[in-house]
């Protein structure tokens, strides 16, 4: 699968980012989120609003404080059902509050473990192959 970087309008120049449309499948709805492929993040980190709107039950998850992007947030981690294009997988997602960021983050254990990703920043493409066992 080939995906294009997303061009985002900036105050002085556009910025192209390697983001993907990753869906969170909950009991109430499927919420498709703009998600940054973050090789520096060990885990998937999403805003708690995604869990709220999708209907992902966080009630049994312990709350922990984690640092993201220079700030600390409260996170509750559960196994969530995620989908990219036709590929669906179950992986831990930390749903965080507050979530001051524009994107969700898909990281090493919850995303890159499942897919082989070739990022070409010059041509602004992500070539992604599912890791089938």
């Amino acid at each position: 699968m080939r995906f294009r970087f997303e061009h985002l309008p900036g105050p002085s120049a556009d910025v192209a980012r390697p983001v993907l449309e990753v869906s969170v499948l909950g009991s109430e709805d499927t919420v498709r989120c703009m998600s940054l492929v973050d090789t520096g993040s060990l885990h998937n980190r999403f805003g708690a609003w995604v869990a709220d709107l999708a209907g992902v039950d966080l009630s049994g998850a312990a709350e922990q404080t984690i640092g993201i992007g220079g700030t600390t947030v409260s996170a509750r981690t559960v196994s969530a059902t995620l989908q990219l294009a036709e590929f669906r997988w179950e992986a831990p997602v930390s749903f965080c509050q507050p979530w001051p960021f524009d994107f969700q983050l898909v990281g090493q254990q919850g995303f890159l473990r499942w897919f082989t990703v070739n990022i070409d920043a010059a041509n602004e493409t992500l070539d992604i192959v599912a890791n089938r066992q």
């Binding site: 309008p9 709805d29 973050d38 993040s41």
Partner: protein, 82 residues
């Protein structure tokens, strides 16, 4: 002795830049707001993601991606998170 290869900075193809610029211009009026986008069109916009999802549900729109258009997309939330 290992041969060193000096690399010139690769250029982004003009067509990629043009298509990307058009996509960015679509988003420009919504900087700082949450949007729902489907098939290259903005189908909902609001100040919160919940309001966007409510609009999408009311309009029976399925498959839209929901996100906040950054005020400054050069701000990087990624990196070490532990």
């Amino acid at each position: 002795m290992q041969q060193v290869v000096h690399l010139a900075e690769p250029a982004t193809p003009p067509e990629v830049e043009r298509v990307g610029h058009d996509a960015a211009e679509l988003l420009r009026p919504y900087r700082g707001r949450y949007v729902g986008r489907l098939d290259g069109r903005i189908v909902a916009a609001a100040d919160t993601p919940a309001e966007v999802v409510v609009q999408l549900r009311a309009d029976k729109v399925e498959g839209a991606v929901v996100f906040r258009v950054p005020l400054d997309p050069s701000v990087d939330p990624g990196g070490v998170t532990e």
